[in-house]
């Protein structure tokens, strides 16, 4: 894993920590961006961690691009030696899988899909070797996920599952992106799940919807009053399958502004995870019980 640095025009340094996705690459990207924030390099205007890369935006009138790059590189040794553990939180996200709204949408855009004969869930279950959609949903909701990036649009989390690579679900994106995706769709593309924070275009396969809003520009939802965006990189998520009645009840609670997401503080250690994945996940999930 060797970082590759390049410029995005005269205002951005782009660093690919690794070409492929791994928790190690994600932790290094997060350590690097934390180090950039702490070092308070003059001229930095945006610090953006991503799944296995990161980007720093700067003002070249204040610091020359080559100097900016040199300052960031200096932090690499420090980031490599950073502790691969963090105090974070785990959030239970209820999901109505196979819901009527994503179903209506995916049927509307069927000609843009790899397999027009079935649904996104049918297709994703099959190409990942699951006998039934229920088995596939059990896998998707069976282990926690890391928020490895926030972006694309306001507050959208990219999620990476904390399982062995051979158990990781991989699906292609739509052949051509849709022009519509229901708000709060739980999607999947490459090795990442996501939650669409707003209605709009999208290319990820669609599996279900959550009743839990994660972006509120009005800041009226009780748990989004302090800040309009719910997720940040490093958060953990556990998807919890729910039925239609539970979904409807949750939507009612959201509308009455009485919905409270289930959140618990946890510590995640990459070394512990690599030593025993099942024990690590059991401990994380145990916090939500």
């Amino acid at each position: 894993m060797e970082s590759r640095y390049t410029f995005g025009g005269d205002e951005h340094v782009f660093c690919e920590v690794d070409t492929e996705m791994s928790l190690e690459a994600f932790f290094k990207s997060l350590s690097m961006t934390n180090a950039v924030r702490e070092s308070q390099i003059r001229g930095v205007t945006e610090i953006c961690p991503a799944n296995a890369s990161f980007q720093i935006k700067f003002d070249p009138d204040i610091i020359k691009p080559d100097d900016m790059l040199a300052e960031i590189r200096k932090l690499e040794v420090q980031a490599e030696n950073a502790e691969s553990s963090m105090d974070t939180r785990i959030v239970e996200v209820p999901v109505l899988y196979n819901d009527p709204w994503t179903h209506e949408t995916l049927m509307r855009f069927r000609e843009r899909h790899q397999d027009p004969s079935g649904t996104d869930l049918d297709y994703s279950a099959r190409i990942n070797g699951y006998d039934t959609v229920d088995d596939f949903i059990a896998a998707h909701s069976g282990s926690p996920w890391f928020v490895s990036m926030v972006g694309f649009v306001s507050g959208l989390p990219f999620l990476y599952q904390t399982v062995e690579r051979e158990k990781q679900i991989e699906v292609p994106k739509y052949l051509r992106p849709r022009t519509d995706t229901p708000k709060l769709t739980v999607g999947y593309g490459g090795c990442f799940s996501c939650i669409y924070s707003v209605r709009g275009a999208g290319g990820y396969q669609m599996f279900g919807v959550t009743p839990m809003p994660i972006f509120d520009p009005q800041q009226q939802i009780n748990y989004l009053r302090d800040f309009m965006i719910f997720f940040k990189p490093g958060d953990l998520v556990k998807f919890s399958p729910i039925d239609r009645d539970t979904y409807d009840a949750a939507v009612e609670a959201v509308e009455a502004n009485e919905y409270e997401p289930k959140i618990r503080d946890v510590r995640f250690s990459l070394d512990e995870f690599n030593a025993d994945i099942n024990a690590c996940n059991a401990k994380l999930e145990g916090a939500l019980k």
């Binding site: 390049t6 410029f7 995005g8 025009g9 005269d10 205002e11 951005h12 782009f14 690919e16 690794d18 070409t19 492929e20 996705m21 791994s22 961006t33 205007t45 945006e46 610090i47 953006c48 961690p49 991503a50 799944n51 296995a52 890369s53 990161f54 980007q55 935006k57 070249p60 009138d61 020359k64 691009p65 080559d66 990036m149 926030v150 972006g151 694309f152 649009v153 306001s154 507050g155 959208l156 990219f158 690579r165 991989e170 292609p172 994106k173 992106p177 593309g189 490459g190 090795c191 990442f192 924070s197 707003v198 709009g200 290319g203 972006f215 520009p217 309009m228 965006i229 940040k232």
Partner: protein, 321 residues
């Protein structure tokens, strides 16, 4: 206050942008043509970063409830006060009860309508700019609609001030857009890379504040590579990463997209380079079908172009001080 009688095609409140939230997927927004936006403000005696109206392809029809001084810069669409034509790039008076309307678009794409006192919508995350996709900022988080009543601040502009033509900037034909290759440039074969700069592209109808799409050039040929885990199956896919402003992605290798002020902050498509900061204004003034030539530059040339643009903005400030 300004009453919106007809909003035009896409008219929104914009200033110099919202900074510091890109890591959460909230882009900077703000005027696509920042030079024209600043000039419009200076013409009516505002701070150069005050909020204005950005009108795309077609002007709005606005009724003023109080006397104001107005200036229209950027795209060539002639402003009219109760039907009487006014000059672009020049401040003029609008009296209470009068209606500001526009002739059809003769050049460019976006007009900047500055009103003395500035558009006084609430500041959200440090800016008054509209980010439509996130329903954030501006007038109720959206472009203007008929019946809207847009608040205006207290101003002290004077009519009859104009900006010399030598201090304006507009794309030529074909538009020449300077690009610094990089990011995933090494994924493109040498032959295909040379072709990208040799081809004449055309702005596609899908050109908005998020990004400008181009058509008409040869598809990109990719070098042989192993597909990295997590990226997806198309040769243009990367493990989802950040997108620089101005970065040029080519989904499927066919149609380049330049991300602009309302950029999606990241995603899974490779980028072959980035438009230099000095030329972002020009893209905001390009209409669909505009022939476009991408010109490869070095970092030194990008920084020189940036210094030239800064100097031009400095001269605009001096001229309108």
């Amino acid at each position: 206050m300004i009453k919106v009688l007809n909003p035009g095609l896409a008219t929104s409140v914009q200033d110099m942008g919202r900074h510091g939230y890109y890591h959460l997927g909230i882009p900077q927004s703000g005027g696509m043509d920042q030079l024209a936006l600043q000039a419009a403000n200076l013409l009516v005696g505002n701070a150069s970063d005050a909020a204005v109206l950005e009108a795309t392809f077609m002007g709005p029809e606005l009724e003023f409830t109080a006397d104001a001084v107005v200036a229209v810069t950027g795209a060539a669409m002639t402003p009219k006060v109760d039907g009487a034509e006014q000059a672009n790039w020049e401040s003029f008076a609008v009296k209470a009860g009068q209606v500001l309307s526009f002739d059809y678009l003769k050049g460019g794409a976006r007009a900047y309508i500055a009103v003395s006192g500035g558009i006084d919508v609430p500041v959200v995350l440090g800016s008054r700019s509209t980010y439509t996709l996130g329903a954030l900022g501006g007038y109720q988080g959206r472009p203007l609609a008929a019946g809207d009543q847009v608040p205006v601040g207290q101003g002290k502009g004077t009519a009859g001030r104009s900006l010399d033509a030598s201090l304006r900037r507009a794309p030529g034909s074909p538009a020449e857009i300077r690009v610094l290759p990089g990011i995933y440039w090494h994924w493109v074969t040498d032959k295909s890379g040379a072709q990208f700069y040799a081809d004449t592209w055309k702005v596609a109808p899908e050109a908005d504040r998020i990004g400008y799409r181009f058509r008409g050039g040869q598809p990109i040929e990719f070098t042989e590579r192993e597909r990295p885990f997590g990226a997806g199956s198309d040769p243009s896919n990367i493990v989802d990463g950040c997108y620089p402003y101005g970065s040029i992605q080519v989904p499927g290798g066919t149609e380049p997209i330049i991300l602009h002020r309302d950029a999606v902050s990241g995603g899974g498509y490779f980028m072959l380079g980035t438009v230099i900061s000095a030329d972002m204004d020009l893209i905001g003034q390009m209409q669909p079908h505009t022939p476009t030539q991408f010109v490869k530059v070095t970092m030194d040339e990008a920084l020189q172009a940036r210094a030239d643009r800064n100097a031009l903005i400095g001269r605009i400030h001096e001229a309108l001080a």
